[in-house]
């Protein structure tokens, strides 16, 4: 999904929304989170791709843990806030790429092959073959559920953003669509 937006400080309404969302978290609710269907689906998927969700936390649990550690959800700019709000509202992670870096057909998931590098420059880290990456016809944007390659995320000069999410077995598609639409709505409202 592509949307015209620039990263800038969030307006007070979005900051207020983050504060309201931070009140949803309590210690016991975070502990019980893993028994809910969507976090459960991501936890299972993490195991199936060789990640331990107790060490490499799933995005919704990581957000909840950060909320507990920091005592609140802090605004980090419009784009990051939009991604965080949609993650908290739906449990489905969404990432944002600079549209300039995305090739035709949009990003997808594939195993890396010998010679793949992270990002679009020769300076990018060389990837071990067989790793699951988010990539398109031109570039590898990042490891699946990992950080994005330098310069591929949204930066000051970004004019258009490509949003993508990763749906896994057990997550209804309506939740994924909802996550993307919440992002778009927040980005447009800012």
């Amino acid at each position: 999904m592509s949307v015209a937006a620039r990263d800038r400080p969030s307006p007070p309404a979005i900051v207020g929304r983050l504060q309201a969302l931070s009140n949803r978290y309590r210690g016991h609710s975070v502990v019980a989170m893993r028994t809910h269907p969507i976090p459960r689906a991501y936890r299972s998927f993490f195991r199936q791709i060789g990640l331990d969700p107790d060490s490499s936390r799933i995005p919704s649990e990581q957000a909840a843990l950060s909320r507990l550690m920091q005592g609140g959800l802090r605004s980090a700019g419009l784009v990051k806030d939009a991604l965080l709000i949609s993650l908290i509202e739906t449990g489905v992670p969404v990432w944002a790429l600079d549209a300039e870096r995305v090739g035709e057909g949009g990003p997808g998931v594939r195993p890396s092959v010998a010679g793949d590098r992270l990002g679009s420059t020769e300076l990018g880290d060389r990837l071990v073959a067989g790793r699951l990456v988010v990539a398109d016809s031109r570039n590898v944007h990042g490891l699946l559920f990992g950080g994005l390659a330098p310069g591929h995320g949204v930066e000051r000069q970004t004019k258009r953003i490509v949003l993508f999410s990763v749906a896994v077995d057990g997550v209804p598609s309506i939740h994924v669509e909802e996550a993307l639409w919440i992002c778009v709505e927040v980005l447009r409202s800012g």
Binding site: H28, R34, Q48, G50, D52, D54, V128, L132, L144, V168
Partner: protein, 171 residues
Amino acid sequence: MLLHDEIGAGQLHSDLASGRVSEHAERAARRSLRAQIAKLERELSDIFVTAFSMGGLEHHEAPPAQPRLLNLGELERIRDKLAERVHAARACVAERADLYESNRVLLERMLLEPARHPYRRVSLSDIGESGCGAWEVRPRLGLIGMLAGWWHVKLSSGCPLAGGRGAAPRP
């Protein structure tokens, strides 16, 4: 089609080329293993929540890893490790539940026959309850009760005050 099935196809073709297993057999085995892993993960999550109020489970720290397509052997290893963790977690919860039960029985006996359990102490945490209270068998009237065999169970007043019992600090 699921993401996993879709990206698993490439791996399958390489396996087929090497003649290791038939396509259908591998597909079915992968599907079955993924389902088993998902089931075990559900069970472990449920046990984790149950155990949390009992003091929690031992934290399991795995070495850092990157996402990848797992072959059948790796999926089996993950399934087996997860099954071991579920088994250990169940045993831990059962052990604690037994301990709480035996402490509750002890408390019942203390209340019924305090003289048979002089100075025995059972705290709320010993029976799986939150809070700082504790039951203790004490002699009535101090030394007199001790010599006369007058024992009773006293419940402590709970958690200490945040500010302590002393006088307020001087300005």
